[in-house]
Amino acid sequence: MVRKTPVAMAWTMALFLLPGLAVYAAFFLIPAVQGFLYSLYDWEGYRMGAFIGLENYRKMASDEVLKGSIVNILYFMVVYATLPVALGLACAEILSRGRVRGSLAIRIVYYLPQIFNLTAVGILFRWVLHPDYGILNTVVDWFGLGGLRRPWLGDPSTAIHAVAAMTVWFMFGYVMVIFFAGMQRIPASLYEAAMLDGAGPVRQFRSITLPSLRNEFTVILILMLINALNTYPMIAAATEGGPGYATMVPALYGFRVFSYQSNVGYGSAIIDTLVVATLVFSMGVYVLREREA
């Protein structure tokens, strides 16, 4: 290795590291820090007001809309962390171990929803769940369950579950792809040995596949929680948080407070709380990793 003089090294850094670092710092690092500062100010409209410490965060405790949206997001987090994970895992196992014909084509289909922008997914489900010509109501009729017909997204009692179902449709292929990639790394010899010992497919899944995927599992669970917090544009397109506030989530509400009510301080406080939650989950990956290593 050829050693460089300090001056030459400074030039190297200026040429290769600095341009990328500058763009990244100016348009990501600095705003990310500013966001936390904004939440500490009384700031409505265009002018930054007085420093009020944690007042904006205190205000959150008495905000009924926000409270409702937190309950909703907790429900979505539970859904995200269970249904798509179970479905994705089952599909990955069948597709990787079951000698399925057309496995590649099936994987392509399962991951397809992820390729659509979140607004398109929301709009798509306005269709599927439409009271008049939605295909879900048509299917309900086919099975002679006409009594169940309803405006799935417009009925406050079903809207939140309809949105949850939409997220399952959107997310399970993502889970499948990550688990499938993990399964490809498990040596085939493990399964062959288990087969010689007389272990059936279920036993093999429990004793070989699951333990080998421990890493993928923690990562998936945490990614699902992070996704639950951040896939709100889908909800914006499907229901706009309605009917009433039945499907409102904190991110959507926070950006509304910012852009409709021009309350920069309070909007920032809501978004920052979400950012901190996301960071806590991300840190979780590292902590769990370290403990395992």
Binding site: Y24, F28, Y111, Y133, F255, S282
Partner: protein, 288 residues
């Protein structure tokens, strides 16, 4: 003895056949659930408005109304939004790749000081969600006069891409044997020609995964586009669709056509490069 053995073998065969049937049933049911909404969306985009309401979502269009697409493209401004999205996506991919490659090159191959610190800085961009920068960026961009320009759409997304790319590319750079780099230096190559002549051809697989990753991320981005520009002429597809939805609520086929238009390039890219897309997703996810 032999009879008994035959019996267990045939029972085992029946069980195995049954489990295979169940397996395929689950897979096919999920394929149908995934594809059906998308197919009915395309069907809806080719119908007349009244036809959709009367015949329902599953009916085939009487005569395909291709003019829905023409209408969405011109009258609905989809053409403008589409062009904007293409411009922004190409710019982010080009800038993001160039800057991420040079940062990863500096950190891994050129042995600059404080490498761990730089890597840590870029990691912040990966763990922080995009929503964290939106409100401050609105004011910053206004301050420097970039609000409501293409730059407002391009630069924040490029910043995100650099962070991810500088991180994602490091293992690929590390895989390149040091002797190869030393040789090229001895042959009189400077830092630039080492990068362009020796490293880039070897990094091509990793870079192409990254390009696809950036493309899909930028093409589908909603957040930046929803707050950092306000002019209609600058809208990109995901957010434009939402305002489109509010303007044409009454004309469902037109909305369906616009939704299809917004997804076509990403879907085509996906169908061609499925393996690379999945590779990017799997490694990206496990790195976080």
């Amino acid at each position: 003895m032999i009879m008994a053995a035959r019996k267990t073998v045939s029972a085992w065969r029946v069980r195995r056949a049954a489990s295979r049937v169940a397996m395929y049933a689950v897979l096919i049911l999920l394929v149908v659930t995934t594809v059906t909404p998308l197919v009915t969306l395309i069907l809806a985009s080719l119908k007349k408005d009244m036809e959709l309401i009367k015949a329902g979502g599953f009916a085939l269009p009487n005569s395909p109304q291709w003019q829905n697409y023409a209408l969405a493209w011109s009258k609905g401004h989809m053409g403008i939004y589409f062009t904007n999205t293409v411009i922004v996506t190409i710019a982010v991919c080009a800038l993001g790749i160039a800057l991420a490659v040079s940062c990863a090159y500096a950190i891994v191959t050129l042995h600059i000081p404080f490498r761990r610190f730089w890597t840590f800085l870029f990691m912040i961009g990966i763990v922080f969600p995009e929503s964290s920068i939106i409100i401050p960026s609105y004011f910053n961009l206004r301050l420097v006069g970039l609000y409501d320009t293409y730059w407002a759409l391009i630069l924040p997304q490029t910043a995100l891409s650099i962070a991810f790319g500088a991180f994602f590319l490091q293992p690929a750079f590390k895989d390149i044997p040091q002797e190869l780099i030393d040789c090229s230096v001895l042959d009189g190559c400077g830092d630039f020609s080492t990068l362009f002549r020796i490293l880039l051809p070897m990094l091509q697989p990793a870079i192409s995964v990254l390009v696809i990753f950036f493309f899909l991320g930028t093409w589908n981005d909603f957040l930046v586009a929803s707050i950092l520009v306000s002019k209609d002429e600058l809208r990109t597809l995901p957010f434009a669709l939402l305002s489109f939805l509010k303007r044409y609520t009454a004309n469902a086929p037109l909305i369906a056509a616009s939704t299809v238009i917004s997804a076509i390039p990403a879907v085509v890219l996906y169908l061609i490069f499925f393996r690379k897309v999945v590779q990017g997703v799997a490694t990206g996810a496990l790195k976080e």
